[in-house]
Amino acid sequence: MASSKISIMVISGTLERLQMAAMVASVGAVSGDEVIVFLSMNALPYFIKGHAANAPVEGEFGKTMEGKNVPLFKDLFHKAVELGEAKIYPCSMAMDVLGAKPGDLEPYLAESLGLTKFLSDAAGSQVWTF
């Protein structure tokens, strides 16, 4: 199967959505697809060093998932970069709103990106939003 490009926009701060986004990013990246992730809105704070990683759940499934040995979404995003060379970009607008500096973020994130550049990079690819 030919490899393709996957663009993932993550703006939610709930466990189920962060988990699914991380699964798509990691499995896509390790399967030879080019993966780019854009983190903004409620998703970005989880990638600030020292921020709590336990996201609130949306529903019953999330509650059940919390009690199981499911890989943590942050670990999966990290593996997407480490094993699959995914690029995870923090949104520059969200960085400004949070008053965050590049050094405040997890080291496996790429440099911040504006929406215009992300849209241009995502052109023609599979686009997923969470």
Partner: protein
């Protein structure tokens, strides 16, 4: 001589076993095999799909008492 290493990923859920397999795949030599033990049924179909996509070789998939034994050979 080709070696076989066992990865015990029992008790973890998708995509944990697949990620364990891939992380270990980077550490072994071409021709060596990895056997993943998984209690997550999806792994038994996800691993062959991944192997076919990236060009390694499936050796076998068997299930014993709720544990899948998935053996993969590094081909490149």
């Amino acid at each position: 001589m080709a070696e076989k290493k066992v990865i015990d990923a029992r008790g973890t859920f998708c995509p944990g076993p697949l990620m364990e397999l891939i992380a270990n795949m980077k550490l072994i030599n071409v021709g060596d095999e990895l056997e993943v033990l998984s209690t997550d049924k999806g792994t038994a179909s996800d691993v062959p799909e991944w192997v076919n996509k990236v060009g390694h070789q499936m050796v076998s998939t068997t299930e014993e008492n709720g544990v899948w034994h998935i053996v993969v050979r590094k081909a490149k």
